[in-house]
Subunit: 196 residues, 2 copies
DNA sequence: AATTGCATGTAAGGAGTTACATGATTAA
DNA sequence: TTAATCATGTAACTCCTTACATGCAATT
């Protein structure tokens, strides 16, 4: 009789509710909407989405109607008044703290076991960050232009800027760390120095 | 008969192996070691630790001896040759990509529903980041002094610098975003402007 | 004719946390 | 005497992804 208390509030229902603010959608369309708008910092799989929609309906936070669209049967979901209220109250509450877990740092911490490999990991992390940075900068310009004058534009841009700041900091740190590792001789090099 | 393929390699065993490089330890001591050295970017709970130790022993990567220490019975674990090899090969492989999930950004994205609350969330995220930044700077100085000349020092410092860079970027972004939101009138303010 | 896209779902299982149970020792 | 620390562990969950199954429509 242990561990019954829910550890943390589910977030999936609220992403769904938030996406439905843009208008009714099928589960499939909802997933695409998530990917295209908040995809940079949030993802949902069908395995989460479909059961969550049923649960939301059971609580009266969304409603569905079956539509025949192009011959296909599609369940179209829309948010209810109660759903809007639930979403607003969730946004109001402070976000739950999230502790980071970083596998690259873990490998870096044990780098003495495979120094060359870790240097490669750092280089490819830096390259990935730079590529992502370019992508985000293009996205930012595109969004700024296409959504010009729209009310939600500053919010869009702020979330993209978060990504830009993060990737810039990451790329810089990778370069710094590579330089620091080059200055600090590894245990192998130290052994060579002792022999010389 | 679905979903049998393991999605991603477990990391817990490798953190354990890495921590045992510093010398034999009990499960309890191991957890403290993790908290004190890689705690800034990795955590493990007993619920993970104890079963993982048994699994590692079953694979011959660690060994245990029972010790009576201060009258208490303690299982002391140490890494084997095979364990070292397994750890080195894991460090060698590229880290698995990790997609971020960020609840603060999600709430920011829906900020029109509760603009004042989201401003508070941003302010407290910035304050947390600044506090953490100060903590990390003190930690950095402390580590640099205490571990002076030790071989692993550059690695220690690099992981701390990662945290510093991240928290600095976060704090700056929070301030920028707060300023941007202040410039961009919310839907409530826009309604007031229309009435005026 | 084959591939991609639209569409709804489920089964299996890994990863991870919380909350317990238990009990000895040590310091305030 | 009470609280904190040392010490080992398990049960019950939640969260989440992957890999399937199924089938129609539109495109190449």
């Amino acid at each position: 009789m242990y561990g019954r208390k829910p550890t943390r509030e589910k977030r999936t229902p609220y992403v769904i509710l938030g996406m439905l603010l843009q208008g009714p959608a099928s589960g499939y369309a909802l997933r695409q909407r998530i990917e295209q708008s908040v995809g940079n910092f949030w993802q949902e799989s069908y395995g989460q989405l479909y059961p969550a929609l049923e649960a939301l309906a059971a609580n009266g936070l969304v409603e569905s109607t079956d539509q025949a669209k192009d011959g296909r049967d599609t369940r179209v979901w829309r948010i209810t008044k109660a759903g809007r209220a639930a979403l607003a109250s969730w946004v109001d509450r402070p976000p739950s703290p999230q502790r980071e877990r970083n596998e690259l740092l873990l490998k870096l911490f044990f780098a003495d076991l495979a120094p060359a490999a870790v240097r490669r990991h750092l280089e490819s992390a830096r390259d990935d960050a730079r590529r992502d940075l370019e992508r985000l900068k293009l996205l930012r310009a595109d969004v700024a232009q296409r959504a010009h004058g729209q009310e939600a534009l500053p919010l869009w841009l702020a979330t993209i800027d978060y990504g830009i700041a993060g990737q810039e900091a990451l790329a810089r740190w990778c370069d710094q760390t590579l330089a620091a590792l080059a200055r600090a001789p590894s245990s192998k090099k130290r052994a060579q120095l002792r022999r010389a």
